[in-house]
Amino acid sequence: MTISWFKYSAPANFYPLAGRMIPWFAGAAVLLTVIGMYIGFVVAPTDATQGEAYRIIFIHVPTAWMAMFGYCVMAGWCAASLIWNTRLSAMMAQALAPTGAMFAFVSLWTGAFWGRPTWGTYWVWDARLTSTLILLFLYLGYMALRAAIDEPRRADRASALLAIVGVINVPIIYFSVKWWNTLHQGATISATAAPKMAHTMLAAMLVMIFAAWFYAIAVTLHRVRSIILEREAHTDWVRALATGAPAGQAGRVGTEASR
């Protein structure tokens, strides 16, 4: 049996599929958050040097990673929308941006409230912090540029270019702690070295990272369904859905091109 992936690149087909996936991802996010918080606050021991303050790591690292990965995924959807001229790819990028911005903001915020007790300051113009602030501005710039262009397909193309150019910032964030002498500590876990933290602490952080992934997927799918409704509002299937009339009266699924 072959699965027709291109079938689901049509918004009308993807809409119900996304609706079926949301409860699973949302449920996994809630479950993993409960498990992660339990390990992080009940099982994991107090840190020898930082005391309890280190427990901010269980949300700081997952939000920071999601902000960076989310940007890469968003830029990937943007590239796909430019290469194949697919509307759904652009809608996915549009749906991901606010969540990415939220994660970038929370990673900066939690970093500030972790920096104060450990470094003695909420903020320094350190390479890691500054490049993460730029990441937040890239998300906001992408959203502002979209909002400034009325015609959706033009907005897709212009904002996609901005998102793709901005990808250069992600390796700068990642390697900033190696390239520059930063106040921010180096990587806690990496592919080339043993983790520099207790197993229970690491477990809590990894569980929370997966929770952040599933939350981001659930929220993005929910938002993309609203975006599909907004951008396909003129099609028969959306009107049938909104008015409660039986779908497919006209026997076709409209597209933006058929307007």
């Binding site: 901010i56 409230f113 609203s226 409704l229 907004e230 509002a233 959306v238 909104a242 008015t243």
Partner: protein
Amino acid sequence: MTGMLSMGGYGFYIWCSYGALALAIVVEVWSLRRRRAQALELARMAAEEENP
């Protein structure tokens, strides 16, 4: 319970961090629900304009 609140003297920093994330999630979920309701309402109005 007080131990959980004070967190060895770091309670302010820890709960400001977790509180901000919780607030961000609440605001995001609320805005998602509102956006969906608005999108459905707009589609319904557009449909009724055409076939009253």
